[in-house]
């Protein structure tokens, strides 16, 4: 570590205080105040509308589905959703902000209060939960993108792409309840999981669906007052967050140790050097001249509407993990693995329901399916493999119609290209040899070819059975049902 501190959390003398502002894109078809479609990967300035371009005379109209998603996220994070909230203008000049103001919420946000529980490791490896309180969740629109890249814009100019301008966001502001870089990252993971399980956001950090600003300060251990904080902007991966926060904690620790003062500022993190550097000193708070947007009326929600969204809330990862343990008899570890994303949890549940033995299905998914997916760098929903196909394949193994080995060999193909397991087993000649005649013939051939080993067996060396088993399996190209082979071999040897 460049600052010479390996610790990411507490130092002996100082306590770390961290709060996060998380921005998440809402999964809507169109923008927050404009009918322009949201098309990731569209050519620059091709998913825009006069409203996103802030042409003279245009007016915003609120996307009601975005409101629904924001309510859902707020309720899933245990917030108090307000029956009245206000959209306000945050005024500042920047080329990728076409109106010269961002429509956000300020004095009266959509939701306040709430919390997110994060898992933390206690002393001696015991796991427990820590509750991180939320200050508020509010809705706002995203800005466009300024492209300063010389290769694209030329050395002297900046290009503006407004495809992202107006994409709906929620900003989730936490209380300064986090005490280490690991907690910050665990909190962000918990938030991401909730956003995904509620289908509010794809929450993909690489694609910018989820962005995060981190406020960090230190205070003498035991102090009630907060120290001066710095803000780390736009951290776009979990790795960066932990590294950046650790680096900033180290920087502040060193500053304070040397008797210096931390100045309020905005920092940039350079992942290459692992260092934070000052982007902007904040002498005073920025003056955004917030005021209620006169083009929009107050957002009024009926209590019934809020309650309807609450009643339709999907089961979150935490609850599902518990259920997978209690109902399916999975270990905590396996249950957590199978609730890493709503897609994998849904896949598991569907396959388990179809097959009937959840633990068996869980093993197949966690071992073989995951391995195949990882090799392809795919998520489960990238794969054409259906839960039904997996369940059928496992059932063929159960019924001795194919062997474990054959089935495992087929998983990669099913994950990559899909297909009907029965048809593939037949086409690849992977059907288990269950014809007693064929196995019996193989057994007698093996016994004839290995009379020394047969003699050893009879002299009490029962381990030899395994060697003979292998020989029979080889003769049947691994397609014979091993249980059957063992049974017939044993019977033949006893003759």
């Amino acid at each position: 570590m460049p600052w010479g501190f390996g610790v990411s959390g507490a130092d002996d003398a100082f306590e770390v205080v961290i709060g996060l502002e998380v921005h998440a894109h809402l999964r809507t078809k169109s923008k927050l105040f404009s009918p322009a479609p949201i098309l990731y990967g569209a050519a620059p300035n091709h998913s825009v509308h006069p409203v996103c371009l802030a042409l003279p005379g245009v007016l915003p109209v609120l996307n009601e589905y975005a409101v629904e998603l924001a309510i859902r996220a707020s309720l899933a994070m245990n917030c108090d959703v307000h029956q009245r909230s206000i959209f306000a203008r945050k005024n500042y000049f920047y080329p990728d902000l076409p109106k010269g103001y961002q429509i956000s919420q300020y004095e009266e946000p959509l939701a306040t209060g709430g919390w997110v529980d994060i898992p933390i490791e206690g002393t001696g490896g015991t796991a427990h939960k820590k509750r991180i309180r939320l200050t508020r969740i509010h809705m706002e629109e995203d800005a466009g993108k300024s492209i300063h890249d010389d290769a694209i814009a030329g050395s002297d100019s900046t290009l503006v792409d407004l495809n992202r301008a107006g994409v709906p966001l929620i900003e989730i502001v936490s209380e300064p309840d986090l005490r280490s870089a690991e907690e910050a990252s665990a909190y962000l993971r918990a938030v991401r999981s909730i956003l995904r399980f509620t289908d509010v956001s794809d929450a993909d950090m690489e694609k910018g669906h989820l962005r995060c600003d981190v406020n960090v300060s230190l205070r003498p251990r035991g102090s009630d007052e907060y120290g001066t904080r710095t803000e780390l902007k736009n951290l776009n991966s979990f790795r960066f967050i932990e590294d950046a926060v650790s680096a900033e904690i180290a920087r502040q620790t060193q500053t304070l140790r040397e008797g210096g003062k931390v100045r309020q500022c905005t920092l940039n993190f350079d992942p290459q050097s692992g260092r934070t550097s000052v982007m902007r000193i904040k002498e005073d708070a920025d003056d955004y001249r917030y005021f209620p947007d006169p083009d929009l009326i107050p957002l009024l929600l009926a209590p019934e509407q809020i309650e309807r969204v609450r009643s339709e809330l999907p089961e979150l990862a935490e609850r599902r993990t518990e259920r997978f343990q209690s109902e399916c008899g999975l270990s905590e570890y396996d249950a957590i693995q199978l609730t890493a994303s709503p897609a994998i949890a849904n896949f598991f549940e569907a396959a388990a329901k179809q097959h009937g033995a959840p633990k068996v299905v869980a093993n197949w998914i966690l071992r073989d399916v995951m391995q195949a997916l990882n090799a392809l760098e795919w998520a489960i929903d990238d794969s054409p493999l259906s839960p039904d196909a997996l369940a059928r394949l496992i059932r063929m193994v159960d019924e001795g119609k194919t062997t474990v080995k054959s089935a495992r060999g087929l998983i990669t193909e099913l994950v990559e290209s899909g297909g009907d397991p029965e048809a593939l087993i037949a086409a690849r000649g992977l059907a288990a040899v269950s014809d007693a005649g064929i196995i019996e013939r193989a057994v007698s051939e093996v016994l004839a070819e290995n009379f020394e080993n047969v003699a050893l067996f009879h002299s009490g060396e029962e381990k030899v059975l395994n060697f003979l088993m292998g020989q029979v399996m080889r003769k049947t190209q691994g397609k014979a049902d091993p249980a059957r082979v063992r049974e017939m071999l044993a019977r033949a040897l006893r003759k």
């Binding site: 042409l55 005379g57 005024n91 000049f93 109106k99 708070a285 003056d287 917030y290 005021f291």
Partner: protein, 488 residues
């Protein structure tokens, strides 16, 4: 001015009687607009070719018996702050030079759907900020009654064009009196409907919570036709009134029996207005009483705070609304600027006129940290009180009558160096915008050869009552028929 264009009703009758055609009418309007350009300067742009083509289409429709509305085939002018696809919209500002809109304002769509023909865009104070149409990058419009006088503003071009019989009707916008005050100065009828009655989609915003599109014409009945074409709910404007607009023409029965007219005592105080103006307004009230209306004195105790409240709110909103004119996407951009900040500063310094800059600066100040509560928040609180004044007044009367402006048309240049005096020109009109209620101005006499306007205000959603009163007044008086330069 003997070839002056008739009213919408007269032109409709002539078309129906096959005495004329849309092509002929539109051609005459265009010729008059061009002929008066030097002397009056009411227009900043004409769409001659498109308008004549549309007139031909309207004539063809009429030939097939497919008349879309009473104003089908009739010419209308629009203020230079309403967009029409394929046409420039400059708000009389350099900052929008070269801008051509790819889309059409809802109100203009309403005209198009009704078959009305937009012949051109009228001059205005830059971004509708002003009361004289002198703050225009294109130069001032003159008052048809006296070329040394302003037509009022900001919709001075629309008012002058209708007064000079260039066009029978025009659209304007009214944020603090920008339709009614020029209507008063030019001797025509101008109505600002209830806030939200006409969609603001496609109206370049000055102050969003106050802006409202309305109509100019020479009679209340013509205004009713025009409103019927442009009013109604619009999903593209979140502040649009959900209820459908009433059929205004049907309300013009000419009967005022039993109607209660409120006279706000604060508006008739001798100190406020020109004596000649007050006398003309009192005479008009007497006429209305003779026609069967009863009068009652009412009080609007917060009226004296209206100007200050209005300028705080309007400028605050304007400072934010005009931020989009930054040289990045359209309009003027300063040449050769080094770096972003210089580009912004020079673009906006070059692109905006002095009055617009003054208001942006004031508005920015009102919204700044530490001042917001003292100005913007306080102004919103007073606005609620002003609205309450009107609600109480409408508890005892059906409409209010007042002078529209404290004076008749002032001289060009008279107030340009004294913004505060200019702002007081709106003293009787801004309250209707703060309260969101409908109000119109109708001609009620002359002082030294210059028109005087009578303002009639109605409760929210009720444009019909002021229109009905103005129509009845026009049936028993002839002030609205007087024509600048003599015979009609």
């Amino acid at each position: 001015m003997s070839d002056g264009i008739g009213t919408l009703h007269e032109l409709r009758a002539a078309l129906d009687a096959r005495k004329t055609s849309s092509v002929e009418i539109v051609g005459r309007c265009l010729r008059r607009a061009e002929a008066s350009h030097e002397s009056l300067h009411a227009f900043v742009g004409l769409r001659a070719t498109a308008a004549l083509r549309e007139a031909e289409a309207a004539d063809a429709r009429r030939g097939r018996g497919e008349v879309r509305s009473p104003i089908d085939g009739l010419p209308v002018a629009i203020k230079d702050n309403m967009v029409q696809a394929g046409e420039p919209t400059h708000c009389a500002s350099r900052i929008l030079e070269g801008f051509v809109s790819p889309y059409t304002a809802t109100a203009v769509e309403g005209l198009e759907r009704s078959g009305a023909i937009v012949i051109g865009r009228t001059n205005m104070d830059e971004f509708a900020m002003g009361s004289s149409t002198e703050h225009s990058v294109e130069g001032p419009t003159r008052n048809p009654w006296n070329a040394d006088r302003t037509p009022g503003g900001s919709s001075g071009g629309s008012a002058a064009a209708v007064a000079a019989r260039i066009v029978p009707a025009a659209l304007g916008s009214d944020t603090g009196g920008s339709i009614r005050q020029p209507a008063s100065f030019c001797g025509v009828v101008g109505i600002k409907p209830t806030y939200g009655r006409v969609s603001r989609w496609g109206l370049v915003a000055f102050a969003s919570s106050l802006d409202q599109i309305g109509a100019f014409a020479r009679t209340a009945a013509d205004c009713a036709w025009l409103l019927e074409a442009i009013a109604g709910h619009d999903v593209r404007d979140s502040t649009s009134i959900p209820e459908p607009a009433p059929a205004y023409s049907g309300a013009l029965r000419g009967d005022l029996a039993g109607l209660r007219l409120g006279l706000p005592k604060e508006y008739f105080a001798a100190a406020g207005a020109d004596a000649g103006v007050l006398s003309a307004v009192r005479d008009a009230v007497a006429e209305l009483e003779r026609a069967g209306a009863k009068t009652v004195e009412v009080s609007l105790p917060h009226a004296r705070y209206a100007i200050a409240t209005y300028y705080a709110i309007a400028n605050a909103e304007a400072s934010s609304n005009l931020a989009r004119f930054d040289g990045v996407r359209y309009g003027h951009r300063a040449a050769g600027a080094k770096g972003l900040t210089e580009m912004y500063c020079r673009t906006r310094s070059e692109g905006f006129g002095a009055e617009v800059k003054r208001r942006i600066l004031l508005g920015t100040y009102f919204l700044s940290a530490g001042y917001y509560d003292a100005y913007y928040r306080k102004a919103q609180q007073v606005r609620t009180l002003v609205r309450g004044d009107f609600e109480r007044a409408f508890g005892v009367c059906d409409a209010l009558v007042t002078p529209t402006a404290p004076e008749t048309a002032f001289r060009l240049g008279e107030k340009t160096s004294d913004p505060l005096t200019m702002y007081l020109s709106d003293i009787y009109t801004v309250s209707a915008n703060l309260a969101g209620i409908p109000a119109l101005s109708t001609p009620c006499g002359f002082v030294d050869g210059l028109p005087v306007g009578l303002q009639i205000l109605g409760p929210a959603l009720d444009e019909a009552t002021p229109l009905r009163i103005a129509d009845a007044f026009q049936r028993i008086t002839d002030h609205h028929q007087a024509c600048p330069g003599g015979s009609a």
